[in-house]
């Protein structure tokens, strides 16, 4: 028993009320499905059933798209940008007011630690709405007008499909810019994490958002496919796996539909011998164990300069001993549950493959709860570039460690992947940071930090990590057009 045991510090669940079942949010109201069915959403840390939600069928998708179209052609489309902005300010404010409720719900439904949902997910989601609220009446200044000086126009109805790793945050990344630009949306949250999106629907009602501007359709792959393929949708925004992203790109081929895709990654976190070593270790830990490694831009490959590799790995393993794995609602938990049984199986499979390939496996000693889906933070050393665990996205708390000798070699190894979402650079030398940043084929480069997000900072990938950017001035581009008629 440790000398200093932190007693349980549970966040109370009482702040949030979960209904036994939820319909679909269409046209500003919760409605029953026409041709769908019900399914359960569980808490991955305990396998407790949280609620029943609706799997939207094709007719439901039709109804939602129609509601969005009506709103676009009607009240929303005619609204001046300044008024649209004020709706978004309201939403941002309500998210701040109900922050604790959302944080608890997110941790329950997703499995992530309450500290992360409270300190990262929810504040960033509110910030996204604040930032974009301010753009709604300033679009002519965003450099997107093609030289006309007039504000660019919205596209129309946007279909948005988001993943389970940052449910409310991904929702805000999608809805805020879409609405700021004057579009209306139909959004499908991931099947394992529908609850904060459904609570967000209540926020829309509290903000008096006109019906049909935001529509929430819960469901799984089928629902997503119906939405993406619906002819009444002008643009798709998708965040998820590269596999599905490619399918979407294929399905819109030959149409006028536009798409932005934010897909997978296998980012290199590169540590040089002159790095600020203690902060670099924190950056490695944050890079792959934040959010249980369920992060598209996770630093899942550590590229450490060979002359300091042993020391860095020793420090890393020592640091991992203080990571606390357990109940997501405990305020001292650092690593929560894996989101689903399916994802846990995938992680286990790839970890097994890593061992079979000849890499050396090490896991942080921790006691895992009996119920729920859990995986101990794991580090593979002696990994080679050609190992599958150096190429395939694991999407879990598993780090693959490789070495390099020179900056050029680091660049070559970092870029040697079909992915290109993010990268990390750890060195105290400014000139090297800037040179490396130039060389790395990644949409987001973090130097002496990692996994930092901001509504003003554009996010998105190169190559098979997708295309298009979210956030910042650049992120508005996907939601507007300069065409005179549509």
């Amino acid at each position: 028993m440790a000398k200093f045991e932190y007693a349980p510090a549970p966040e109370s669940r009482a702040v949030v009320t979960i209904r036994p079942s939820y319909g679909l949010f269409i046209g500003g109201e919760f409605v029953e499905s026409v041709d769908g069915s019900m399914f359960k959403t569980i808490s991955p840390s305990s396998e407790e059933v949280l609620a029943e939600v609706t799997e939207a069928g094709e007719a439901d998708v039709e109804a939602a798209v129609r509601a969005a179209r009506t709103a676009f052609d009607g009240s929303w489309g005619r609204l001046p940008g300044a008024e649209r902005g004020k709706y978004l300010f309201r939403i941002a404010r309500i998210l701040q007011e109900r922050a604790r409720e959302f944080a608890v719900l997110e941790s329950l439904d997703n499995g992530k630690p309450i500290r992360e949902s409270r300190d990262v997910d929810i504040p960033l989601a509110a910030a996204h709405f604040f930032y974009h609220a301010g753009w709604a009446d300033k679009l002519e200044h965003a450099g997107l007008s093609g030289g006309s000086g007039r504000p660019p126009k919205p596209l129309g109805v946007v279909g948005q499909v988001i993943p389970w790793n940052f449910p409310l945050l991904m929702l805000s990344w999608k809805i805020a810019p879409a609405l700021a630009a004057g579009n209306t949306v139909v959004l499908k949250p991931a099947e394992t994490t529908p609850l904060t999106a459904l609570l967000f629907a209540e926020v829309c009602q509290q903000a008096d958002l006109p019906g049909g501007v935001v529509n929430i359709l819960t469901g799984a792959g089928q629902t997503g496919r119906h939405l993406v393929e619906h002819p009444g949708v002008d643009k798709i925004a998708f965040t998820g796996s590269t596999l599905v992203g490619k399918a979407i790109a294929g399905s819109i081929a030959g149409t006028r539909k536009r798409a932005t895709l934010e897909l997978g990654g296998k980012a290199a976190n590169i540590v040089f011998d002159d790095a600020a070593i203690d902060e670099a270790v924190e950056g490695i830990v944050n890079g792959i164990f934040f959010n249980q490694g369920h992060v598209c831009c996770a630093g899942s490959r550590l590229l450490v300069q060979e002359n300091v590799a042993d020391d860095v790995i020793m420090r890393l393993k020592r640091r991992l001993q203080t990571l606390r794995v357990g109940d997501p609602l405990d305020k001292n938990t650092d690593v929560g549950a894996i989101n689903s049984a399916a994802q846990l199986a995938r992680i286990r499979d790839l970890a097994q493959i890593g061992e079979a390939e000849g890499a050396t496996r090490w896991s942080a000693p921790c006691v895992l709860p009996e119920r729920g889906f859990w995986f101990a933070p794991t580090v593979f050393t002696d990994v080679s570039q050609s190992h599958r665990i150096a190429q395939d996205e694991i999407f879990g708390p598993v780090l693959s460690v490789l070495t390099f000798r020179t900056p050029q070699e680091a660049v070559a190894k970092a870029n040697n992947t079909p992915y290109g979402l993010s990268a990390g650079i750890w060195t105290e030398k400014g000139s090297r940071i800037l040179w490396m940043a130039d060389q790395l084929r990644a949409g987001v480069v973090w130097a002496n930090t990692f996994n930092r997000f901001d509504p003003t900072s554009p996010f998105g990938g190169y190559k098979e990590s997708g295309y298009g950017r979210e956030g910042g001035r650049h992120g508005l581009e996907a939601y507007v057009t300069t065409e005179a008629t549509r």
Partner: protein
């Protein structure tokens, strides 16, 4: 309820109500987050558009102006270091509080400018929306006005806009709320701090705005408001060596004031000067209801360009 309606529903109580003596507001300066009277002890009468007495406003002196500049300078370091996001949040909250006080503002605009209640209400809405418009700029200015420069060499080169420092502003003489907000918000949104000399004859909405600021999260000293005679105080602000920029909007239509003189005084420390849009004592002010462009934001920004080599 209008006085007429109140009399229509007359009962014994309402007869007593008509006789109720109001608790009148004292209008003071707003400097460093507090409400002092003028150090000179002077006041001057403010009347409404029909000549009826409204209040005694503090007659600000050069020493009040001096104190305000000290307060603004003291607040600058922290305000300019506040994240753009936080500044936006603070300014948005000011708009929230203005919205809560809209009836009070409307009454004061009616009194100051002689507008109908309906028009005054519209002016208040515009003033609030104007404030919201500027609040939403704080975390976008750098993206629109800054950028990376592709120099011909192995260097990273970036230009960033930074706030210039303490900005003095002569608020418009006629548009006592909308005009005031339109010149004040663009100063502070980017991190500058402000010393505002209000409209000489129509200062009361500005004092009510100070009350909103004092109740909001705007830190003490970020905005300072001085009422008084424009021709008396303006030259001291224009000549003040610790003021970095000055907006001469309120010189248009001010008695005994030649704005060219103020610009000349400003040249002593090369203040950035925003000239009034119009000339002459009888000039009409610009149409404050039109959505602004970036001129007023840009006027108080310095551009800093940084180089750094890139090499392995």
């Amino acid at each position: 309820m209008s006085p007429t309606a109140a009399r229509h529903g007359a009962t014994e109580n309402s007869a007593v109500k008509d006789q109720r003596i109001k608790v009148r507001k004292t209008y003071k300066l707003y400097i460093g987050g507090t409400f002092p009277r003028s150090e000179s002890g002077r006041t001057y009468e403010i009347s409404d558009s029909r000549g009826t007495f409204l209040a005694n406003a503090a007659m600000g002196s050069r020493k009040d102006a001096r104190d305000a500049v000290v307060a603004a300078r003291g607040a600058f370091e922290k305000w300019s270091a506040t994240t753009a996001y936080n500044r936006g949040q603070v300014l948005y909250r000011v708009a929230e509080l203005m919205e809560g006080r809209r009836a009070q503002f409307a009454t004061e605009v009616v009194a100051a400018e002689g507008l109908t209640p309906a028009r005054a209400d519209n002016v208040v809405s515009q003033a609030i929306d104007r404030w919201v418009w500027y609040a939403g700029w704080s975390d976008k200015i750098a993206q629109v006005l800054g950028g990376v420069n592709p120099v011909a060499g192995p260097y990273f080169n970036i230009s960033v806009p930074e706030p210039t420092g303490v900005v003095a502003v002569l608020a418009p003489q006629r548009s006592s709320l909308l005009g005031l907000v339109s010149v004040l918000a663009p100063i502070v949104v980017s991190g500058n701090t402000a010393v505002a000399l209000t409209s000489e004859q129509r200062p009361l909405p500005a004092v009510t705005l100070s009350e909103v600021l004092a109740n909001s999260d705007v830190p003490a000293g970020v905005i300072n408001v001085i009422t008084g005679r424009t021709a008396e105080v303006a030259p001291w602000l224009a000549a003040h060596q610790d003021v970095n920029a000055i907006d001469l909007a309120g010189a248009a239509g001010a008695d005994d004031l030649v704005w060219a003189e103020l610009e000349r005084a400003s040249a002593e420390n090369l203040k950035r000067v925003l000239r009034p849009d119009v000339d002459g004592a009888d000039a009409v002010e610009p149409d404050w209801s039109r959505t602004p462009d970036l001129t007023r934001i840009k006027a108080y920004l310095e551009t800093k360009t940084v180089w750094h080599p890139k090499s392995r």
